[in-house]
């Protein structure tokens, strides 16, 4: 179990165990539960009143703007991690510091722009 992939083998095993735990719980449930479906029971519960129209209703998704914001920033943020590990390595000091402030400036500018364009306020 040595080497780089050794530690990940355990993660994979745990993932498999997790799947087995979920499957076992559902299997025990299947063994122990009654099963008497009726048309009423299989209707969507929704708010307790009989559902009106389709389940997948159209609605205005106001959140799509946040998805754009997220895509812009999260992609930047991913690069933070490898950079953070070599950040204070000897000989990097000032260079990485300037880089960091550039990075922060970009993100701050992006949020400032979104804020000025009023995408963060709804009313």
């Amino acid at each position: 179990m040595g080497g780089y992939f050794g530690s990940y083998a355990l993660v994979v095993v745990l993932f498999a165990i997790g799947a087995v735990v979920v499957a076992a719980a559902l299997f025990a449930n299947r063994m122990l539960r009654p099963s008497r479906p009726t048309p009423e029971k299989l209707t969507s519960y929704e708010c307790g009143v009989d559902p009106v129209g389709e389940g997948w209703a159209q609605s205005q998704v106001r959140y799509y703007v946040f998805t754009y914001l997220y895509v812009v920033f999260a992609v930047d943020a991913v690069f933070l991690f490898p950079w953070a590990t070599v950040y204070a390595a000897p000989g990097f000091g000032m260079t990485t510091l300037v880089e960091m402030f550039l990075f922060l400036g970009f993100i701050a500018l992006g949020i400032l722009y979104a804020w000025r364009k009023r995408v963060l306020a709804w009313t």
């Binding site: 355990l10 745990l14 165990i17 979920v22 299989l42 559902p51 946040f66 950040y87 000032m94």
Partner: protein, 317 residues
């Protein structure tokens, strides 16, 4: 032989933590909430102060009929509870509780943990979509929006610690930890904890569930064991979030007098208590307030923390 035994012990301890700690947190939540609201909480199951209440609940869930509504997308619907539970189990493997005491010591532990925790939220999006229920669909979309908004402050705050320690390994971070990191990383710690709460969709960030307007959000159509799995995922999530906050910002196993793993458990217990406390104390945030808090409140604070970490690290240390 010894190697196999070693692996078995590691897996067994993760499983014990996975099955036991959420129950303790759940029971603590019953009791703490009850006392904060001047009532008793469960008192009968098991005799002494209702200690067996959650076990009784589990037995009850086990025997409940499993209903998949006609309108639902069956396969996605059936899979969703597993998707929201299993990632937290996998994350638990990477959390160190003492020097060398970690099931899987990953080089990129921090990165791995954040990535896998994000997968857990997919479960609730899947459930919201597949239920074939307008309210659940709204809940699922709110979950998605919440994941989007709070992932960024979470990642920024975590990377501030990675900068300070110069490593992404969780054990490495705790090894490098010094007591003065507490004030130094305090802002990042608060941001991380709040953003983590929002990812777990715990009150006051439970807009996706919001029982007074969305019934139970993505869980509305679930019954029996599948519903129980969602609830379990929530409590495992609390344990994982508390443990991660303790490891990254409170120095994990560092502490005077007591042995390391005990300190770790104490910190996890205290943070779990804070999670419950916040649930009792704060009203739910409205959806737009929730988004505003992330983008105008937490992200700038996290950016400020990054700047502070960078300056201190380069100019002083």
């Amino acid at each position: 032989m010894a190697e196999v035994l070693d692996v078995l012990v590691r897996i067994a301890s993760v499983m014990v933590a996975f099955l036991l700690l959420p129950l303790i947190v759940g029971q603590a939540e019953h009791k703490v909430m009850a006392h904060m609201q001047a009532r008793l909480g469960p008192m009968y199951a098991g005799g002494f102060h209702g200690w067996a209440q959650l076990i009784a609940d589990g037995v009850k869930f086990m025997q409940k009929e499993d209903i998949i509504p006609r309108a639902a997308d069956r396969r996605v619907f059936a899979l969703a509870p597993g998707v929201s539970l299993v990632p937290y189990l996998v994350v638990m493997a990477a959390i160190p509780i003492g020097p060398g005491l970690v099931a899987a010591d990953l080089d990129v532990g921090l990165f791995f943990v954040l990535a896998v925790m994000g997968v857990g939220v997919l479960g609730s999006i899947m459930a919201g979509w597949s239920s074939g229920n307008k309210y659940s669909l709204l809940g699922g979309m709110r979950s998605a929006a919440q994941l989007m908004s709070y992932e960024l402050p979470l990642v920024l705050a975590a990377s501030s610690v990675a900068m300070a320690a110069g490593t992404l390994s969780l054990s490495g971070i705790v090894d490098a930890w010094q007591w003065w990191w507490l004030p130094w990383q305090a802002a990042g710690g608060v941001v991380f904890f709040i953003a983590g709460l929002a990812e777990l969709r715990r009150p006051p960030f439970d807009m996706p569930i919001a029982e007074s307007e969305l019934i139970m959000g993505h869980m509305t159509e679930y019954t029996g064991m599948r519903f129980a799995l969602f609830m379990l995922a929530e409590y495992v999530g609390i344990v994982v979030l508390s443990a991660l906050t303790a490891v990254l910002f409170l120095g994990g196993w560092h502490g005077p007098l007591l042995p390391g793993p005990v300190w770790m458990l104490v910190k996890v217990a205290l943070l779990s208590f804070v999670v419950i406390w916040l649930r009792v104390s704060y009203p739910r945030l409205r959806e737009d307030q929730l988004q505003k808090l992330a983008w105008i409140g937490l992200v700038p604070v996290a950016l400020g923390q990054l700047a502070l970490t960078g300056l201190v690290k380069v100019l002083i240390v």
